[in-house]
């Protein structure tokens, strides 16, 4: 039995679930296939509906 969690993909969805779990005191392993995390959202200039900067 293990308490650790594996998250596959480091876009906004993977980052959010990883942080939620890590904040609950659970050990998370986040696997991302590209050299850096961020996913598509990192490529966006700003995001609707608030036009906040994406990163």
């Amino acid at each position: 039995m293990s308490k650790d969690i594996l998250v596959i993909g480091g876009g906004i969805a993977g980052m959010q679930s990883s942080l939620d779990l890590a904040d609950m005191g659970i050990k998370v392993h986040l696997v991302e296939k590209l050299p850096s995390i961020g996913g598509k959202m990192a490529q966006l200039d700003k995001t609707f509906p608030t036009n906040d900067c994406a990163i």
Partner: protein
Amino acid sequence: MLDVGRHPNLELLAYSEVEKVEGEAGNFKVTVRRKTRYVEEDRCTGCGACAEKCPTAVPDAFNEGLGARSAIYSYFAQGIPSTHTIDPDHCRQLNGKKCGICAKTCQAEAINFEQEDRIIELNVGAIIIAAGYDIFDPSLIPEYRYREIANVVTAIEFERLLSASGPTEGHMDRPSDRAVLAEIAALEKKAKKSQKALDKLEKKFDEPSAAFYGKYQAGEYEGDEDRKKWADKYASHLKIVEPLEELKKKAKRFTVAKRLAFIQCVGSRDFRFYPFCSGYCCMHSIKEAVIAQEHAPETTSTIFGMDIRAIGKGFEEYKIRGGNNSNITYVRGRIAEITEGPNNNPVVTYENTRERKVESREFDMVVLATACAPTKGIGTLAKTVGVELDKYNFIKTSSLSPVDTTTPGIFVCGCAESPMDVPESVAQASSAAQRAAEIAFQSELEKEKAVA
């Protein structure tokens, strides 16, 4: 993103892939391949000195190929981790040529051409799949001529053009114009080199090349081998300079794109490809039009769509505000084709369903709102992890348990499940985290019981 890099409970395994999963909820054994970066993670400071010196230019994937990066690179400037990576397909040293400039540059001695992939084993209680989506390839719709017309771009390419840290520093420079400027730069380099050779000859014969060439062509130096060489050199110089001058004249007329068209549902709501609505594209077209107009106030945008779907919180207001304040016109109609008019301007032909007329309009640039396509590797990943896909190749779920896959202990969130925007992805992510946490805490309880 920064928090992910430094949270004590979070082990970030970037540039890695899951190779094998065995076991069941509460107890999965996972094999992960950590691909070699040829750079030692614990040494690299991310300073970027290597990338500056690397002589190899590669199209930059982060900028959707609109710019170039080096063979040693960080995926993007603020990327986490900042560890650099050598691209094994393009690096000279790794392809049998002599180089190693990066290794000589790196003060931290982080470069290691002998580094190999590493395999690590993990034991986890639950798995969350958040593998996202791919941009639909619009060249599958030949009538839009995405590959043929330079100024027809995808929305994600347009995001990079809008970005201050992107390849145009946020200016709406048109791809056709950028191609010409790149050609001018290449020709100028060539012209400089051939001018240097001519300078030597002009000095030797004490005469400008142009004056000499006139006489040579009139037959004055017949049989003179040295002067023949000079004439040949000058002739090939002209072949560089003349087109260069033409291009420079053309470039003087270049302006940023001011008349934009956005085409909705490219691949979405289309029975040839994906019958579903991708959900976020109407909104990102409005967003891109709003930002473009902020950058250059005279910009006008026309959004062509069957209807504008603005169903999220605050979205309808956003759409109306765009129409009122950002020079956006919404036209109801489907696009029959895009052709190229004068001055590399794309011409959009469409049925104006309100007027019941076929119309054509010229724009400076056309932006395609591409569908949310399942990510390419999802078939392999689903097989490796052991979950089912739906008929479009998104991860299969059911409407009453939208983050549960077909296998207990494995959850999904974000666009790997179905097309959705950022707020929805975040909501699903928290939901999947909660479902996974239930298993984690159960595992802990059982462990405690076993000890007691």
